[in-house]
Amino acid sequence: MKNIDQILEHCKELAFDLEFSYAKNWKSAQTDRVLIGYMPIYFPREITHAANALAVGILGTGDRKQIIKGDAFYQSYICHIPRGIIELALDGNLDEIDGFIFPSICDVIRNLSGTFQILKKGKFVKYLDYPQNFLSHIGGKFYKTELLHILHEIQKINNIEVTPEKLNNSIKLYNINQRLLKEIYNIRQEYPWRISFENLYYVVRAGMVITVEEHNKILEDVLEFLNINNGEPMDKIKVVISGAFCEQPPIGLIKTIELAGCYIVDDDLLLGSRWMKGDVADNTDDPLNALSEAYMNLSTFSSSVYSVGKPKGEQLVQLIKERNADGIIFAAPSFCDPALLDLPVMQKACDDANIRYISFQYNENTGQYKVIKEQVGAFSDSIKLWEDTVSS
């Protein structure tokens, strides 16, 4: 096993490299390699992997870049993440990226895909819509067509044909990736002091900008480290974070939550990395169909996507129970329509299930955490001192 501190430092550098150096180096090693930028909500990276392309997660600029040009594109009542992405595009940080996928997160992101087209960024820009009908012959067919469209666009760039064998192989690798991540989260649920959530976040986020093969190696090393009894347990409550699936909170805010008396045992940050609740079939004649079926039957819930027959509130309550969490922190970016519109529904489900929660909003460049620290500290104490449920 490699030195864990070195691994974590490496992941941190990768996670916040706004120059995407790793991806650029990877591309320059072979002429038919392609870079595909995508936004963090679910996008089946298996198809890019099979097409000799690297899916590069674009998560905005956080608190690491001053936004000047990006502000000119958006009104004050729009969230922060598209401003940062525009800033990156106009400053040339994304110039090496060949194509862009904008999944259907919200209206703002849909319009961002249009803005990229107007700015003529990349060789193609695709707005990836999700089915709202979950029948295989309707929604499934639609979703498959969307994926085929992306594959054709990549093929136009590198002339590589994706065979079922290649795609099955890619699915296998991402299944391993998902299983490793699940195992890490499961161990951390029991022993959250073995790795801080901040460090776990770096590990997961690094996987959005590197090859799945390399990320799997990192995850194996981290898993090995987590299986060793290390760190001192502290008396904190266990919480789940909900609402932060697109614009990411600054690291300072994540640290503040853990320092104020909480262990974060599950979350929807970097949701695109942990979307699948089970393995995608990896040995079929029609792997695109397998991906499509997986989207409809195995994907987790999110405010961004349509859910039929499985109310999101119920799924959140189920997650809290599975994780044996003491409460929920609803942390949504300011002006995030999907998260904030779902909030009352989610809170009602929590009220009905007698689950404690708090909520606040943030921006990816929020710099002051005093109020959040007070709120989280009071929340933690109220559960530790006045509830029967304790972290165990």
Binding site: M234, D235, K384, V390
Partner: protein
């Protein structure tokens, strides 16, 4: 393990770090305590030094402490079992000093917070001053420094005032300018200091009023040790319609640390009951 344990509470404040060792049982008693001004030292290192000092002085080892907890800027304390929010600890600490208290006012270096509590020390409601520095102990420290006074003497100097001059604004920056003007106008140090105390006391009274505070009220935090501050609050209370009984204690600055030590004991036995992994550790 018996039902009597030793707990430790450490309160890392904006100006002072306070720590207390406690025998936690049905009749909790303080074993020892220590308070140090941070000055320009590293709070993390100073916290560790204070803990080591208390342990060594009382022939104790870290393993003798059943549960140690930080409060305030708790991230500065690395070796601990848990952390409690400063409002929770001041509420409990205030109740330890004065069990009948139904409102605790934490008057620290950075803000003033009025906390309504029940008979168990549970927080029922609270109000606190905003971001403005002019309602805090740090403001008094700044003014005393401008006037060449030690912080320890401002209370007694304030009591000598005959004709207090209050600053016109509530903004710390403007108030500091006011003080400079007062000095140039020849206003006495006693009257300036009393005016500053009355200005902060006025905020405390408004805070208590908006909280609909219940009597008796107990004052905690560094400013509670300032006799001039307590006098100013009582004077303004008498002028107002409120009939609150307001009191404090010479050790009220330790309320956060005592509260953390008390909650440590409570939490220890709760974890023991639950057979928690934290307890086993």
């Amino acid at each position: 393990m018996s039902n009597e344990i030793i707990t430790l509470g450490i309160d890392v404040g904006g100006s002072y770090i306070k720590a207390a060792l406690m025998h936690y049982s049905n009749n909790c008693t303080i074993i020892d305590k220590k308070c140090e001004k941070v000055r320009k030292r590293n709070p993390s290192v100073l916290s560790e030094e204070i803990i080591e000092y208390l342990l060594e002085k009382n022939n104790l080892k870290h393993t003798d402490i059943a549960y140690s907890a930080s409060t305030g800027e708790g991230e500065m304390v690395t070796r601990k079992t848990g952390h409690f929010y400063s409002m929770t600890t001041h509420a409990k600490g205030g109740q330890f000093f004065f069990p009948e208290a139904r409102t605790v006012v934490d008057m620290g270096a950075l803000y003033v917070r009025a906390i309504k509590i029940n008979h168990e020390g549970k927080v029922l409601d609270y109000k606190m001053t905003g971001q403005c520095a002019s309602g805090s102990g740090q403001f008094i420290e700044n003014i005393s420094r401008y006037l060449g006074l030690a912080i320890e003497e401002v209370g007694s100097i304030s009591l000598q005032s005959q004709n207090p001059e209050t600053p016109s604004g509530i903004c710390a920056v403007l108030a500091e300018t006011d003080v400079i003007n007062m000095v140039s106008r020849g206003i006495s140090t006693q009257n300036i200091i009393k005016g500053i105390h009355l200005s902060i006391a006025n905020r405390v009274i408004r805070l208590l009023s908006s909280l609909k505070a219940e009597s008796p009220i107990f004052l905690t935090g560094g400013m509670a040790m300032n006799t001039g501050m307590v006098q100013a609050i009582n004077e303004l209370k008498t002028e107002s319609k409120y009939k609150w009984d307001i009191t404090t204690n010479d050790d009220a600055i330790y309320a956060g640390a005592y509260g953390a030590a008390l909650w440590s004991g409570f939490r220890f036995f709760k974890l023991k009951e639950k057979k928690s992994i934290i307890y086993a550790a």
